[in-house]
């Protein structure tokens, strides 16, 4: 899992592909910035995966 926190406070978390897609869209829509996959992964930090859902009774 990766996470990116933008300087404007916007945060996204997900797989590499999800984070890249979200950051590209946010950069374009909120800041008018075009970014590459490499640039985004360079600023992403590793985060733990969400805990598994408890089993149903």
């Amino acid at each position: 899992m990766k996470e990116v926190t933008c300087i404007c406070g916007w945060t996204c978390r997900g797989t590499e592909d999800e984070v890249v897609a979200q950051v590209m869209a946010h950069g374009r829509d909120a800041h008018g910035i075009e970014s590459t996959r490499e640039e985004i992964l360079a600023i992403a930090v590793e985060v733990p995966p969400p805990p598994a859902s408890p089993a149903a009774d």
């Binding site: 300087i7 404007c8 406070g9 800041h31 910035i33 640039e39 600023i43």
Partner: protein, 170 residues
């Protein structure tokens, strides 16, 4: 073409650390009122806290990213967030000439504190309540801590409403 900004924080997270996030609430005085600066798309600035680094250093660097210099930087409370401890600092800065494109400047409104049981934390805590607590804490510090009082000579009056009534004027 504008380029992607460097990361606000670069600390990798670990499920094994108890505390890993710093939260920063930023306030300044202007026109006789207290105002806050928050990120456009969040309630507060948050950044990872790497092992071996001081919170003061990390948060001063974070403020510098927004062109701000702290007059006071003080830890004020902590709470649980997603299973980790979130440590909150309050920064008092000079009124910015321009908050820039990434911060929102807004007046601080009074709110009720989040209250828990005698032996348990509140079930939920809003950022506005954390800020209310922080300003009550700062109101005590400007009266009690010589370093804070010297750094914020005009804030004793600004914070008067945050001092419990029996203690005002002491």
């Amino acid at each position: 073409m504008a380029r992607l900004e460097p990361p606000v924080g670069s600390t990798a997270w670990s499920p094994d650390f108890v505390a890993q996030t710093l939260e920063l609430l930023v306030v300044f005085g202007h026109g006789g009122e207290i105002r806050s600066l928050r990120p456009v798309h969040a309630d507060a600035l948050r950044v990872g806290w790497a092992v071996g680094r001081s919170a003061d250093e990390i948060l001063s660097e974070l403020l510098a990213r927004y062109g701000l210099t702290p007059r006071v930087l003080h830890s004020t409370s902590w709470r649980h967030d997603n299973g980790h401890v979130l440590l909150t600092y309050l920064a008092v800065v000079d009124a910015p000439a321009d908050p820039g494109p990434h911060l929102v400047d807004e007046p601080v409104s009074r709110t009720e504190l989040a209250r828990g049981d005698a032996t348990a934390a509140p079930a939920s805590i809003r950022t506005a309540q954390v800020l209310e607590h922080a300003l009550r804490h700062l109101a005590w510090l400007v009266a009690d801590d010589p370093a804070i009082a010297a750094a914020l000579p005009e804030w004793r009056q600004l914070l008067e409403p945050y001092v419990p009534e029996p203690f005002r004027g002491l």
